[in-house]
């Protein structure tokens, strides 16, 4: 009895310490975003002590920071925000639709060369993105897609190997008789995918959507390579130009404020979808 209590207490203490270590940088970012420029600068340079709570709360830092993005006051922020939203939503929708469709085909349609094609698709996962970066850039440049969102969005509509794999595994668990029942009910393969398979794949779709959202929202390299104009910039990109513009550390409070704003959607999404997320990891791995 005693040892069980002890074990539990140790586990709780260890987990609490771990959480604290993970959360502190975020909290500190938040604290600095509210500090006065002097204290923030000092903290960043290591001159000041690490404050757990800001001395004075300057909410105005946020308005100031967002106003300073881009060349036009506010316009830069609004452009970056809308670009980020458009790209992220399109990529999420495209990835979910294409990956589930291809996963369904791999799981349930018998076609010549299915096995080798599946292996080939898995093999693309082993290829580091850096290897294909330059050839891809050349391709997109030839197509005249540079400085548009197309290179970032269009590939998503052609599936993503990892998510196709996840969908395939999940769909393989769905009873064949459901598909046959739908066939007798009069639906073709597209109808079955849209009305039966996709609704049943909710856990996988949740994971796909969240992973894709977080990756695309925070993606820096993609937009950096393909988007050049100010009005095409995404939030992640804007964050960076912000740092260049105010290089040095005197405006670190503004940088932190924009970082917090950029982070909010991911945090909100994660909490909102946490249940589906955790369920999905379990159900995707073990059983349908």
């Amino acid at each position: 009895m005693m040892s069980r209590w002890l074990g539990k207490s140790i586990a709780i203490v260890a987990l609490a310490a771990g959480s604290l270590a993970m959360l502190f940088p975020l909290w500190w970012m938040f604290v600095i975003s509210l500090e006065s420029p002097q204290r923030a600068g000092a903290a960043a340079e290591g001159g000041g002590s690490i404050a757990i709570w800001p001395e004075e709360v300057h909410w105005s830092n946020y308005a100031e920071a967002l106003r300073q993005i881009g060349t036009e006051p506010w316009q830069g922020f609004l452009d970056a925000l809308s670009n980020s939203i458009v790209i992220t939503v399109l990529v999420v929708v495209g990835t979910v639709l294409s990956s589930s469709l291809v996963g369904f085909a791999f799981a349930r349609i018998n076609f010549r060369g299915r096995g080798p094609l599946f292996i080939l698709m898995l093999a693309t996962m082993m290829l580091p993105a850096q290897v294909t970066m330059i050839p891809l850039f050349l391709v997109f440049r030839t197509m005249g897609w540079i400085d548009t969102i197309l290179p970032l969005v269009v590939p998503a509509f052609f599936g993503s190997a990892f998510f196709i794999f996840m969908y395939r595994q999940f769909i393989s668990q769905i009873s064949e008789s459901l598909i046959e029942a739908a066939r007798i009910d009069g639906y073709g393969m597209f109808g079955i995918w849209w009305r039966i398979i996709l609704p049943m794949c909710k856990p996988v779709t949740a994971i796909t959507a969240i992973f894709t959202f977080i990756f695309v929202w925070n993606d820096f390299l993609g937009p950096l390579i393909y988007l050049h104009s100010d009005d095409q910039s995404t939030l992640a990109l804007a964050l960076n130009s912000f740092r260049n513009q105010y290089g040095g550390l005197e405006n670190v409070h503004l940088l932190m404020a924009v970082s917090v704003v950029t982070m909010i959607p991911c945090v909100v999404l994660f909490f909102a979808a946490q249940r589906a997320f955790v369920e999905g990891i379990g159900s995707g791995a073990v059983k349908g």
């Binding site: 046959e180 029942a181 066939r183 007798i184 009910d185 639906y187 909710k202």
Partner: protein
């Protein structure tokens, strides 16, 4: 409603696996036919070929005199009930019932109903018709209170009824039932069997039912088609299969406990002789074609055996297992050479380990040839 005709249909999978071999069958309008056999005998494949879920290697299938060999499943006007029910888990019962109907609407477009009054009126009438159909089939199956529930919130029996309901709303010409009762517990299975029978009478529909359970087959079917290794063994009404099994396989498959088989030799004076000092005087005239010296298998059902005094006994052994079933008792008697099962009236006082003798009612016995087919040797019609 419709008749179904299978003409020499076969299914050969790659690697020369003959799943179904030259099956012919005429199912009349409104008939309840049961395909029965051990697992892997091709009964489900046959059903799936009728459904259009499996292609036909050779032969023809006609539904209502229309050749349907290459017709898609959805165009054959059939409904199928699956072993695992195949209910759409993300839809409630009502949606499950209406799913097939919605697809078959003639006025599906909401957009067009905005612009055309006639279309709007037709569409409303059609929606009403769908609602009526759902209500009627829910009434028939007692699903009225469950319409809003999801499959996961239903018991096994309720799911089974929804699966049946989904077939009924469609009002198909043929119902195909693929082992629909095998996932239910024994009591529920009995209830659903009665319900299926009642439903068949009520709808007057043509039904093809697949099962491996011979008891289910006997109680449900107007006619049974017994299959083994993709080949039809016998087709006929339950009583015919029980009383006149075409071969040894059918004889052993139909009836529980299984028929007893004794392999032996015909001697002078129609004396059947087998190992273990079994000597049975066969009745005269019952088997006119029998020859002296012929090897045969004698088949006798447990219910045609009774306890006997030593004098007229055909078999003596020790009671190995005694199963009390209430009104009757199943006894397995064993001696050094063989075991025989007898179904006797309860109250004989026979206990396990006791010695007992059996007498057979030979007017109910069957003789089979000892070759591979085990064909039944013809008897004189009486």
């Amino acid at each position: 409603m419709a008749n179904v005709r299978l003409s020499s249909i076969s299914k050969i999978y790659s690697g020369d696996v003959h799943a179904v071999n030259d099956v012919s069958l005429e199912i009349t309008d409104g008939e309840f036919i049961v395909l029965v056999g051990p697992s892997g005998c091709g009964k489900s494949t046959t059903l799936r070929m009728i459904a259009g879920l499996e292609s036909i290697t050779s032969g023809d299938i006609h539904i209502d005199d229309r050749k349907v060999n290459t017709l898609a499943a959805k165009d054959r006007d059939i409904a199928m009930v699956f072993q695992d029910y195949a209910l759409y888990p993300h839809m409630n019962v009502e949606k499950n019932l209406s799913f097939g109907l919605l697809r078959r609407r003639r006025y599906p477009s909401r957009l067009r109903s905005i612009f055309s009054g006639v279309y709007r009126k037709n569409r409303a009438a059609e929606q009403q018709d769908i609602q009526d159909r759902i209500r009627r089939s829910a009434d028939v199956l007692g699903l009225k209170d469950l319409l809003g529930r999801h499959p996961r919130e239903l018991s096994g029996g309720q799911r089974q009824r929804v699966a049946l309901g989904r077939a009924i709303v469609r009002d198909p010409s043929v119902f195909l039932l693929d082992e629909p009762l095998s996932n239910l517990d024994a009591k529920l299975r009995g209830e659903m069997r009665t319900e299926l029978r009642r439903l068949h009478r009520q709808l007057g529909a043509t039904m093809v039912h697949v099962t491996h359970d011979q008891e289910e087959a006997m109680t449900l079917g107007d006619r049974l088609l017994v299959m083994k290794d993709g080949v039809v063994q016998q087709c006929g009404p339950p009583a015919q299969l029980y009383e006149h099994p075409a071969n040894r396989f059918v004889a052993s498959f139909i009836g529980t406990p299984e028929m007893n088989f004794l392999e032996g030799l015909i001697e002078d004076g129609l004396m059947f002789k087998a190992d273990g000092k079994v000597r049975i005087q066969l009745p005269k005239d019952r088997w006119p074609s029998l020859l002296v010296g012929q090897q045969v298998t004698l088949g006798i059902r447990p219910e045609h055996l009774e306890l006997a005094s030593d004098g007229d006994a055909m078999f003596t052994g020790e009671a190995d297992v005694v199963e009390q079933l209430g009104d009757r008792t199943d006894v397995i008697l064993a001696n050094d050479h063989r075991r025989m099962t007898a179904r006797i009236a309860s109250g004989s006082g026979l206990g396990e380990g006791d010695s007992a003798s059996l007498r057979a009612d030979l007017s109910q016995a069957h003789l089979f040839s000892t070759d591979e087919g085990g064909r039944r040797i013809g008897t004189n019609p009486r």
